[in-house]
């Protein structure tokens, strides 16, 4: 299969909506097949790569923090970047810079970079297809 370049726009904040997990599933499937993916994180989605996300214990589940092993979007995205590298592809993660500033989530994991709507347009123009996962 010829290598493709896909662009996704994600917009939901972490821990809010199943659309985020669905988007990450699509990215995972593409990266496992060696395709290149660009993500433009807009609005609340810029917090997906926030480095200070922290796991917690869950008394309702009766588990301490280690047992709970709480999944953090930043770790999933780091894992997706590693998956891309292992499969000869690339996951480019661009956070809308203004959205980052207004939310104070400038400390992002390595590999996540700051950008603007112009970067989204350039990525979409260079891609085979683009999917917008807007919030509701």
């Amino acid at each position: 299969m010829a290598k493709k370049h896909l662009t996704l726009v994600m917009m939901d904040a972490p821990f809010e909506n199943a659309r985020t997990v669905s988007g990450l599933r699509l990215i995972d499937a593409a990266l496992r097949r060696g395709h290149d993916v660009t993500v433009f994180a807009y609005e609340g989605a810029v917090a997906l790569t926030f480095a200070k996300q922290a796991p917690h214990a869950n008394a309702v589940h009766g588990r301490d923090a280690a047992q709970e092993d709480h999944p953090l979007p930043k770790d999933w995205i780091a894992a997706l970047m590693a998956t891309a590298a292992q499969n000869g592809g690339q996951l480019e993660w661009i956070n809308c810079g203004l959205c980052v500033d207004e939310r104070g989530v400038g400390e992002a994991i390595p590999g996540a970079k700051r950008g603007s709507p112009a970067d989204l347009w350039k990525a979409a123009e260079a891609s085979d297809n683009t999917l917008v996962i807007g919030t509701r």
């Binding site: 726009v9 917009m11 807009y42 609005e43 603007s116 709507p117 112009a118 989204l120 347009w121 350039k122 979409a124 123009e125 683009t130 917008v132 807007g134 919030t135 509701r136």
Partner: protein
């Protein structure tokens, strides 16, 4: 690549952002050379209504001095060459008539949408 932006979720975070994020990003991408147009459906048809006024918000002693001005944002998009459409059925369902809408905004019936979508190479539904 000719792109259609579809907005159906209206007034989602406009007070905090002082605009609609999709209308905003459309303006920003237009400035970067994008060829894009806008279709307002559902509650977002109200974005095209003349004379909206979201001013006056005050929490404690903190006033919002720059409320969203969606009408002006749409006008700027039109001035930059973007076409702005509303789904007429959605406008009518909300009691809006042609005279209520901004000059330059075009109407489309729901039945016209499939053929209309065929004019675009890319459709982004936000």
């Amino acid at each position: 690549m000719k792109t259609l932006q579809i907005v159906t979720s209206a007034y989602r975070c406009n007070i905090e952002e002082q605009d609609d994020p999709v209308v905003w990003i459309s303006q920003a991408m237009k400035a970067a050379g994008a060829e894009l147009h806008l279709l307002l459906g559902g509650g977002a048809v109200n974005y095209a209504v003349r004379g909206q006024d979201a001013s006056g918000l005050l929490f404690g002693g903190k006033a919002q001095t720059q409320p969203p001005r969606i009408e002006e944002d749409l006008r700027r998009l039109l001035d930059k060459g973007a076409e702005v459409y509303v789904v007429q059925d959605d406008a009518a369902a909300r009691g809006l008539e042609r005279a209520d809408l901004l000059e330059g905004v075009k109407g489309l019936s729901r039945a016209e949408l499939p053929r209309f979508f065929g004019r675009f190479e890319r459709i982004w539904r936000w």
